[in-house]
């Protein structure tokens, strides 16, 4: 008889600890990693390396906020990587093939990229395909569209088109600035803040979460559920497109599947973001924190000469842990 209450209090203590860790584990891990890498490698803690880390996560973060918005309606946008690739191809073609200026090239690229959202929301909302599977399909479709459009995937300044036509357009220097720090970091921070304000302080953000929380209750409360699910996919595509613009500015050319590599870390960042500070919902700030954690890990490990081909093991593990923290408590 005496053993039972004791074990129940120790169980309670355990659940308090788990609770604390799931809230603050990400932040604690970031500080532990910072301390560890700083002690292990003096070069790590230099201000310039900190800036490097922030610069390296900016594209991931912006794409991850796109995933975050799709997660708010209990959806999942896997096509963000392809959207980024597609946008890179579009914007580069406008510069190199057609010699457009920065502003029209960016605007038109984003508008065309939104066709992905159109297809996604049609498949998901109208045809009732599971979000994950529908966007898996569009991920492949638009990867192929980008390849086909560019004729193999790459466009760079001075490179002739596939049919041999010489190109004369140049990438404007103003556009290249977008890809350099501090601008790229500032753009990221502004986007994170905008998404945060939108999700937290507007009616529409509230509705997105409600639709994700209980679609039927939302519908019966008079919320136009399908309109908001569509909105979520348009926003996730737009944000992924912005990530593509930043990527294009950063590398200054279109490369085969340039955006694909950003999908996995972006998914990880968005899921790590769930639990940060106990929000337990997809949220923009959490996503930024998640991206910082992933970026920090990547940077530190590279500096410790872990081969790049082994990094995915670590990144995959981080994603698994983030998912475990998100889903573990739900099954009680």
């Amino acid at each position: 008889m005496t053993a039972a209450p004791q074990s129940s209090t120790s169980k309670q203590r355990l659940s308090v600890i788990i609770d604390f860790l799931s809230k603050w584990g990400t932040i604690i891990t970031i500080f532990v990693l910072l301390a560890f890498f700083s002690i292990a490698m003096p070069a790590f803690r230099t201000p310039s390396n900190m800036v490097t880390i922030m610069r390296s996560i900016s594209i991931v973060t912006v794409i991850a906020t796109g995933i975050t918005v799709s997660l708010t309606v209990d959806g999942f946008d896997l096509s963000v990587g392809s959207v980024a690739t597609f946008t890179v191809a579009l914007v580069m073609s406008f510069f190199v093939w057609y010699g457009w200026g920065t502003v029209p090239a960016i605007i038109v690229s984003l508008l065309i990229a939104l066709s992905v959202a159109l297809v996604n929301s049609f498949l998901i909302v109208k045809l009732h395909i599971f979000d994950l599977l529908a966007t898996l399909a569009t991920m492949f479709i638009f990867e192929g569209v980008a390849m086909t459009y560019t004729g193999g995937g790459s466009i760079s300044q001075g490179m002739p088109r596939l049919d041999g036509t010489p190109t004369t357009g140049a990438i404007p220097s103003g556009f290249r600035l977008i890809g350099q720090s501090p601008y790229i970091i500032l753009i990221m921070l502004v986007i994170v803040m905008l998404v945060h304000v939108f999700l937290t302080y507007t009616k529409h953000g509230r509705y997105l979460y409600i639709v994700g929380g209980n679609r039927e209750a939302a519908r019966l409360s008079g919320i136009p559920v399908n309109r908001y699910r569509t909105l979520a996919y348009f926003l996730s595509t737009l944000l992924a497109g912005l990530g593509g613009i930043m990527l294009a500015a950063r590398i200054g050319s279109a490369q085969i599947n340039a955006g694909a590599g950003y999908l996995m870390p972006a998914v990880a960042a968005a899921f790590i973001g769930f639990s940060v500070a106990g929000v337990k919902k997809p949220n923009a700030i959490g996503t930024l924190v998640g991206a910082i954690l992933v970026g920090l890990l990547e940077n530190g490990l590279i500096m410790m000469s872990v081969p790049y081909y082994s990094l995915n093991i670590i990144k995959g593990l981080v994603l698994a842990i983030a998912l475990a923290i998100t889903y573990y408590k739900k099954h009680d």
Binding site: Y201, T202, K203, I210, N214, A218, L220, S221, G222, P224
Partner: protein, 504 residues
């Protein structure tokens, strides 16, 4: 001819947290008879049959099979004695993407394969066809179950039961979703099983004409006890209804009488896309509480949802203040001044993971915005505090998650959100389900207040005493349509139940 079997349940009692579901129940069924098991909602019919099917193991009392004690504590025990129960939700028992043959032979495949690992498809289909021949149905055994109609699925389940040796077959409200001809077909099958194949059939139904048509013996349960047990000739429809109800000791609620105004809602010839609402006509006047009653499955929820735009309309119209009501989505319903408090509270009415204030302002968030759609949380919280006070919602604050509230208080939140929205027509679907007496009183009072303000109220419930307490007029539904209209002052519990059960 096989020998006659006799299955006896003696002194069966079972308790669930807070309720004694069955109290010393005796029930006997014999081979070759069709035995009706009747009772009001919650009388314990399904519970009794679940015990027979081995779904519970914590009951007291004993079960005898041919005079020998049978210890049924697990579905396997029941199966071994040849007792099969076809539960109400046929879809949960079938595997949709397997064929008819595989579904019929499922028990055999699961239990009698032993150490064989390869399936002989020819055998499966041949055996399935043999079983189907026994029950006299024709279906291609290669059809996938997901492509079958509800009636066909039910037959497949019966065939599955018969694939193994069956002595007793329990059918729990099998006719509720069936059409007239499908029901006739089922009865033919039941008679065939009883007369020619020596099966004892237990038939649970709320529909009186059916019971009198097909059954030979009848047991009536009320509040977990047997109140009648004899052959069908010894009872009339009227008497049966009286026995089902018995005398009640429930509290009554004083109705607030308010002057009733003009017709504000008029529904004409309403049909739902898949026939879940058929040719429904009714009116609601200002200040009037209209009761919409009928048994579970009579189509009340479907009517509420169709009117609210949540189910597709096939034909018919509704006029709100003389203007046609657009019934295309809940979104447009809310815009036009309708409010629905749905039956499935946790699934449809509230968001358990959101705080009270978010739930309360949800349908009317437009009233709490400033600038370009920014939410004015302060205004939200202040109105939420007001509603919490008015409705007496027990919560530490407006920021508490609704998940932590009691059922009654959750329901008040589900109702409260429509008070802020200020609708014209309030539709309540079983608003007192799972709600304690105190909260029930509060909800009744609130509905009375709405009527006093000149709103139109539709109150759908299968709890007839409640309908009698609160409504001005009652519509009785049966089989997805309205079969009777009463002035509440002229209605009695017996008369309502009579029409609810399809009496004519």
């Amino acid at each position: 001819m096989e020998s006659k079997h006799r299955l006896e349940m003696k002194g069966i009692s079972i308790e669930f947290p807070g309720v004694k579901a069955l109290d010393n129940v005796d029930f006997t069924v014999k081979s070759g008879e069709i035995h009706a098991l009747v009772g009001a909602n919650g009388a314990g019919k399904s519970t009794l049959m679940k015990i027979l099917g081995g779904a519970y193991d914590h009951y007291t009392g004993a079960i005898y099979f041919d005079g020998e004690k049978a210890n049924i504590r697990h579905p396997r025990d029941a199966k071994e004695l040849g007792i099969d129960v076809v539960y109400q939700e046929v879809d949960t028992a079938l595997i949709p993407y397997l064929t008819v043959a595989e579904n019929i032979m499922l028990d055999k495949m699961a239990n009698e394969m032993k150490r064989k690992h390869f399936i002989r498809w020819g055998n499966i289909h041949r055996s399935a066809r043999e079983v189907m021949k026994r029950v006299g149905i024709e279906l291609d055994t290669h059809t996938l179950v997901q492509d079958l109609s509800l009636a066909e699925k039910q037959v497949v389940l019966i065939a599955r039961a018969l694939a193994t040796n069956t002595n007793f077959l329990v059918l729990d409200e099998p006719t509720a979703p069936l059409s007239q001809t499908e029901t006739e077909e089922l009865f033919r099958l039941m008679r065939d099983l009883a007369q020619n194949q020596n099966v004892g059939v237990v038939f649970i139904s709320h529909r009186l004409p059916e019971i009198f048509e097909v059954c030979e013996t009848i047991t009536i349960l009320r509040d977990g006890q047997v109140v009648f047990d004899a052959t069908i000739e010894q009872i009339t429809q009227q008497k049966l209804v009286e026995l089902m109800l018995g005398r009640r000791f429930e509290e009554t609620y004083p109705k607030i009488h308010v002057p009733i105004g003009d017709v504000i809602l008029e529904v004409k010839g309403l049909n739902e896309e898949s026939g879940r609402v058929r040719d429904v006509n009714f009116t609601v006047r200002a200040g009037e509480i209209v009761g919409m009653t009928g048994l579970v499955g009579a189509g009340k929820t479907e009517l509420c949802k169709t009117l609210f735009g949540a189910y597709p309309v096939k034909s018919g119209e509704a006029l709100l203040h003389g203007k046609p009501l657009t019934m295309k989505s809940p979104h447009s319903a809310v815009k036009q001044g309708l409010a629905l408090v749905p039956e499935e509270r946790r699934k449809e009415g509230i968001l358990v993971d959101e705080p009270v204030y978010v739930n309360l302002t949800l349908p009317s968030l437009d009233k709490f915005t400033k600038g370009p759609d920014f939410v004015n949380t302060r205004a939200e919280k202040s109105i939420a505090r007001q509603v919490i006070k008015e409705l007496g919602i027990v919560t530490p604050s407006e920021e508490q998650k609704v998940a932590y509230l009691s059922g009654g208080n959750q329901q008040k939140v589900a109702v409260g959100k429509w008070l802020i929205a200020d609708a014209e027509i309030y539709i309540f679907d079983e608003p007192t389900k799972g709600v304690d007496v105190g909260a029930k009183r509060d909800i009744f009072e609130l509905i009375g207040q709405l009527a006093k303000q000149g709103k139109g109220v539709i109150y759908a419930s299968s709890e007839i005493p409640e309908i009698l307490d609160i409504s001005d007029r009652v519509y009785v539904m049966y089989d997805y349509t309205i079969v009777k209209e009463f002035e509440t002052s002229e209605a009695t519990e017996e008369s309502i139940l009579f029409y609810s059960a399809g009496g004519q």
